[in-house]
Every structure is written in structure tokens, then in C-alpha cells.
């Protein structure tokens, strides 16, 4: 691990003075500069190069953060937001050193659940598991949408980075389900965005009900990876938790045949979520860490959870699924649709980890490293993406782990080749593999989310100059001293 690079933070002010100021703001128990405490924050599960922060702080409230931002802006000290470091993209690695703001430990309260307008007002440190438990215990008629990720990933981080969850076939990107944000900008001002913008001092808890129709400032913070300000509150939409639920599994034979299955099923508008994995991934779930596929095995499996207010409606939705499957079979696609509860008992209950989200999916936590090319993808390109990416995995002797989703009833998709690996042994090879996949996918029009810096470097070569100029202008305007997560998107 190297010392702070490329920016001498302690030119304007000494490290001791910074520490003193941080202790004044947060209290001594909430500030650390000990190497042993900093080290776990310095790298993540991906291949992204690590970098030590200079301090980690544990904020408890907004006023501390306002003081911090003003101080850091004045002294050009980087600030990097952190919840649990579960993003697969190096987003919390302090590229230029500075101060990591760990929201996960103290700013993790569920502030308000609004039953009428169905939203949850959250501090940034709230995790999926925490929210799920809270809703189950107190508001069982409401539900949130959960990702293919461990329970301790942050809800707010997932939403503001356009995560995709287990209702995304219906809802699309989680970024679309944000009703409001409270942010701290570089000059230390607090701004509320969305319907909560009324009220000079504080917004009432029941005012966070909509993002529109004022000029949409939310876009200044969504997908910006913390580069434009600190988010201190986020209101996310909730949905009715229908009493009748069922998940079906489609088993598809033929490498690219999964693509039309997913697209057509998405267009039925009756499915909550569509996610598909290569067969190797099904085997990984049952503790076969380096699986291969044999002849005769299906190539992909896809999950289709459906839910309804009444049993009749559930049956009707199933009827539509059956008709769609029949239609696909008539077109020569070899696909079988089965009840996943029935299948999982016969096959192996461990595959249920893909159902009971948020859950710890063995597949993801198998080794010491995890990385991916997680991207939004044009659904008409899925066949091509699969057929080009699958052999790249095989070329590197890595079991193909392809994860795909259909978003918003087939308006767009997610294409996510995932790689689990032994971080201290195979990193170089895996980086090469990922690099090759990235090249192929970006050329097919995929847009990675939660992008590591090396990936955005590639993207910049393809992005139109107008966008890049606008991006730079906004970043410069929002963060003139480049204190907010500097280095992201090659800033």
C-alpha cells in the first residue's frame, strides 16, 4: 500500500491539524488514523488497486458532516463515502487518500416509513437486511426490492448507483424509485431534492413522496459515485407485499436461446423480476466451485417470480407465462418451465439462496476476490453478448458465470459476467479476462455501472465529446476543489 499519491493533501495543513479538527467535529472515538484501522478500508474485493485512506470517521449527524465538508473543501482534502464496501467496482477505495466517511456504523437509521404513499426515508447506512427485517416486523404489507447481493450492502448506495433488484422487471433501475434526497454540497449547504424541497428548515417526514415535477436536480447525484456531494438522506419507494407469490424456473437449452425467452417473458408484464444465470452458476450454488457443463445439460436457468393480490390473479399470470413458453417452444426453443420450490427440493435446497434475497449467495462469496463487468445492456444484443463472452471465460479456464436481467418489461437489460477468484493468486489473469470481456461488451453498446477507474478510461474513448464536456462542467461546478471521491470517472 502506498502513501497518498498524486495529491499532497498535507501541503496546506499538517496531518496532525487535520486529526485535531476531525476529533473536534466527530469526537475522538469516531476518528482513526491507525494503520490497522485504515487498512481494511483500503481495498475491496475487486482487482482495483488499493490505496490507504488517511483517516476514517464515523459520523452521527448532518451537522458533523457539514463541518467536515466545509473543512475539507477549504483544505482540498478528499472525502470518500462508505457504507459496507460491498460495491463491486472499487468505488470506496480512496484513490487520492483523504477521509473515508463510514456511514454504515452510526448513520444507519430507518427514519420513517410512509404507509400511504409507500416510501421509506433512510439514512445512508441502512442495509438491505436491516430494512427487510424492519418491514417484516412492522409493515408486512409493504416490501422493498432486493439485489443479488449480501444483506449488508447499503440500500441507498444501491439506489443511487442504479442497482437492479428482484422487482426490476417491473420497476427498472432502482435509481428510478428514489423519491427524494438530502445532500450536502461542496460549500457545506444542505439541499433537499424532490417533493421534500418545501420547508426552509426541515422537511416533514411525509413530504418525501415524489421526485417530480420540479427541475430534476436528482440527476446531479444519481450514478455520480459520490463525486458531487454527500447524500445524507434518501427516500426510496416501497411496494405492496402481495400475499400470493410463486417463482418459476425456466431451464433453457441452447447458449443464446435464453435471450428470446427473457425478452418475451419480460414483455408479458406479469413478472416481477427476470434473472438468468448460466448453468455453471447453478452448480456453484451447491458447492461445486469449478463446475463444467456436460453435453445434454441446459445452458441457462432463469427465475420468474410473480405475485398477486388474489389466487385467481396469480393463476391468470401463470397462464400467460405458460402461453408465452408454448409460443417460444413453437418457435423451436427448447425450454421447460417448472415450479422452483419443487425443483429446489429435488435438486438441492442450496439453490434457494438465489430466491431468498437479500441472501448470501455462496457463488459470490466463495473466494477472496469478486469482480464483474456489470452493465446495462441493449436486450437485442444479448445473443451476441452471450456467444462472444462465454468462450472468453473458457479461454481463461474460468467457469462461465453469466448473470442477466430484463429490466422494465424488456425496455433494457442487464448483462453481467461475474468472476470469482483467489485475489492474491490469480489477479493478473483475472484482470486480463475482465479486460477482454469489457472490450467486447462496450463495443456491443453495454454501459457498465459502478465503474472502476480503468473501465471509465475505456468508456471515455467512446463517449461523445459533448457528454464528456458537460460531465466535466458539472463536476467542476459541483465540486470545484475535487474533494468528493476524486479519481472516479478519471476526474
Amino acid at each position: 500500500m502506498t502513501e497518498t499519491k498524486q495529491r499532497n493533501i498535507f501541503e496546506k495543513i499538517s496531518k496532525e491539524e487535520v486529526e485535531e479538527r476531525l476529533i473536534e467535529i466527530f469526537g475522538s472515538g469516531n476518528v482513526t488514523k491507525k494503520a490497522g484501522d485504515l487498512y481494511p478500508y483500503s481495498y475491496d474485493m475487486t482487482e482495483c488497486e488499493g490505496h490507504m485512506p488517511d483517516f476514517v470517521v464515523l459520523p452521527e449527524n448532518n451537522s458533523q458532516l457539514v463541518e467536515l465538508v466545509k473543512f475539507c473543501n477549504d483544505k482540498s482534502i478528499p472525502i470518500v463515502p462508505y457504507i459496507s464496501g460491498n460495491n463491486v467496482g472499487g468505488l470506496t477505495i480512496p484513490e487520492k487518500g483523504g477521509i473515508i466517511v463510514d456511514f454504515g456504523k452510526k448513520m444507519n437509521k430507518i427514519l420513517h416509513i410512509d404507509e400511504n404513499m409507500m416510501y421509506a426515508l433512510l439514512e445512508p447506512g441502512v442495509t438491505f437486511g436491516q430494512l427487510q427485517k424492519y418491514l417484516e416486523q412492522n409493515y408486512p404489507h409493504l416490501r422493498y426490492s432486493y439485489p443479488f447481493a449480501p444483506p449488508y450492502a447499503g440500500v441507498v448506495g444501491n439506489a443511487i448507483l442504479s442497482g437492479m433488484n428482484n422487482m426490476s422487471c417491473k420497476l427498472g433501475s432502482m435509481g428510478d424509485s428514489i423519491n427524494g434526497l438530502e445532500v450536502i454540497t461542496a460549500d457545506g449547504s444542505i439541499a433537499r431534492i424532490g417533493s421534500c424541497f418545501y420547508g426552509k428548515e426541515k422537511a416533514a417526514n411525509d413530504s418525501w413522496w415524489c421526485r417530480y415535477p420540479m427541475p430534476d436536480l436528482m440527476g446531479l447525484f444519481i450514478n455520480w459515485q459520490g463525486m458531487t456531494g454527500l447524500i445524507t438522506k434518501c427516500a426510496v419507494q416501497l411496494w405492496p407485499n402481495h400475499p400470493f407469490k410463486k417463482t418459476y424456473l425456466a431451464v433453457v437449452f441452447g447458449l443464446s436461446a435464453i435471450a428470446p425467452v427473457m425478452r418475451e417473458m419480460g414483455k408479458t408484464e406479469v413478472i416481477d423480476d427476470i434473472s438468468a444465470v448460466s448453468t455453471e452458476v447453478v452448480k456453484m450454488a451447491v458447492e461445486i466451485p469449478e463446475p463444467t457443463k456436460i453435453e445434454g445439460e441446459p445452458d441457462f436457468a432463469a427465475l420468474f417470480p410473480i405475485s398477486a393480490k388474489t389466487e385467481n390473479l396469480l393463476r391468470a399470470k401463470k397462464e400467460i407465462l405458460d402461453l408465452t413458453i408454448k409460443h417460444l417452444k413453437d418457435q423451436g426453443i427448447k425450454v421447460i418451465l417448472i415450479d422452483v420450490d419443487e425443483f429446489s427440493k429435488i435438486f438441492n435446497l442450496r439453490v434457494r439462496c438465489y430466491l431468498d434475497l437479500p441472501s448470501v449467495v455462496l457463488t459470490l462469496v466463495e473466494y477472496s476476490g469478486l469482480t464483474w463487468f456489470g452493465s446495462y445492456a441493449p436486450t437485442h444484443k444479448l445473443e451476441e453478448l452471450i456467444s462472444k463472452v462465454y468462450p472468453i471465460f473458457l479461454k481463461y479456464n474460468v467457469p462461465p458465470f453469466i448473470y442477466m436481467k430484463i429490466m422494465k418489461h424488456s425496455h433494457y437489460g442487464i448483462f453481467r459476467p461475474i468472476i470469482r477468484y483467489k485475489k492474491f493468486k490469480d489477479e493478473e489473469t483475472i484482470h486480463q479476462l475482465l479486460d477482454e470481456i469489457t472490450e467486447v461488451c462496450i463495443n456491443e453498446g453495454c454501459i457498465p455501472y459502478k465503474t472502476p477507474v480503468w473501465m471509465t478510461e475505456k468508456m471515455r474513448k467512446k463517449i461523445n465529446p459533448g457528454w464528456l464536456q458537460l460531465f466535466d462542467k458539472i463536476k467542476q461546478c459541483m465540486d470545484p476543489n475535487n474533494i468528493f471521491n476524486p479519481g472516479r470517472w478519471n476526474t
Binding site: 437449452f253 461445486i288 420450490d341 419443487e342 429435488i346 435438486f347 434457494r352
Partner: protein
């Protein structure tokens, strides 16, 4: 003590799951140990799997099958699930042509196979437990 191969293809994994359910049950052990038979199970959309019962070991093969196969059973996935979940009786499945058995005249082998495999499959299906995470820890 029975030893059941883990299996690395989808069907062998399922067979391991089904047969392991009763691996500590005395009745099951008595049925299986020293049965010394090779049973071919083919789930139509998939591929054939040979289940080899030898001594106290149960192993699975998806190629290089033994020359001597004592019983061949063929069905599609839907029928397999229908039998497991009691939506169709195996005899009726045979009569309707949904379950094809080669070696039908080897009544003893057939009945024993039904006791070993079909009964286990139904028991697995009837088990209400859906909690996978309670299965793997040494100290749970």
C-alpha cells in the same frame, strides 16, 4: 455407512440429494448395500445417468456406461416432478407412457428401485423444510 458420490452434473447432483436424504436410515441402508445393480435413469430433455449400486457405494456416470444395465427408466422432467409430488402414481405413469421402463419383467429389481429411488424422491418432496442455510455448518 453409505457413500454416495457428490456428482457434478445437474442430474447426479439431484440424485445425490434424493438418495442422501435417507442415507442414515437402517431400512434404506439394508436396501442399498450389496444390491450391486446398474440402473439407467434418463430424464428426456437432459441426458442419461447410470446409477451404480455396488457394495456400500452409490456412484453416477454420464458416459462410458457399464455394459450390463439392469433397469432403464425414462421420463420427462414434468413426470419426474409429478411423481415426486404425488400428482401421478408411477404405475399410472407407466400405463400412460409417461414413465418408460426397460426391464419391466425384472419385477424384483423394479420394485426395489421404486423403494430406493421413488420412495426417497417422494420423501424429499414431502419434507416441509425449505431452510437451506441450516444444512451446512458443522456446529448447527
Amino acid at each position: 455407512m453409505l457413500s454416495i458420490q457428490k456428482g457434478e452434473d445437474l442430474l447426479s447432483i439431484s440424485l445425490n440429494n434424493i438418495l442422501s436424504f435417507r442415507k442414515d436410515e437402517e431400512e434404506f441402508i439394508d436396501l442399498v448395500v450389496d444390491w450391486d445393480k446398474n440402473i439407467m435413469i434418463e430424464v428426456l430433455e437432459f441426458y442419461p445417468v447410470e446409477v451404480k449400486f455396488k457394495g456400500n457405494e452409490i456412484t453416477f456416470k454420464t458416459n462410458n456406461f457399464d455394459k450390463k444395465i439392469h433397469l432403464k427408466v425414462k421420463m420427462d422432467l414434468e413426470t419426474l416432478l409429478d411423481i415426486a409430488y404425488l400428482r401421478i402414481n408411477p404405475i399410472l405413469a407407466v400405463l400412460k407412457g409417461k414413465l418408460k421402463v426397460k426391464g419391466l419383467l425384472k419385477i424384483r429389481t423394479l420394485f426395489k428401485f421404486m423403494k430406493i429411488f421413488l420412495k426417497s424422491m417422494k420423501m424429499v418432496a414431502a419434507n416441509p423444510n425449505l431452510n437451506y442455510y441450516e444444512q451446512d455448518k458443522k456446529t448447527r
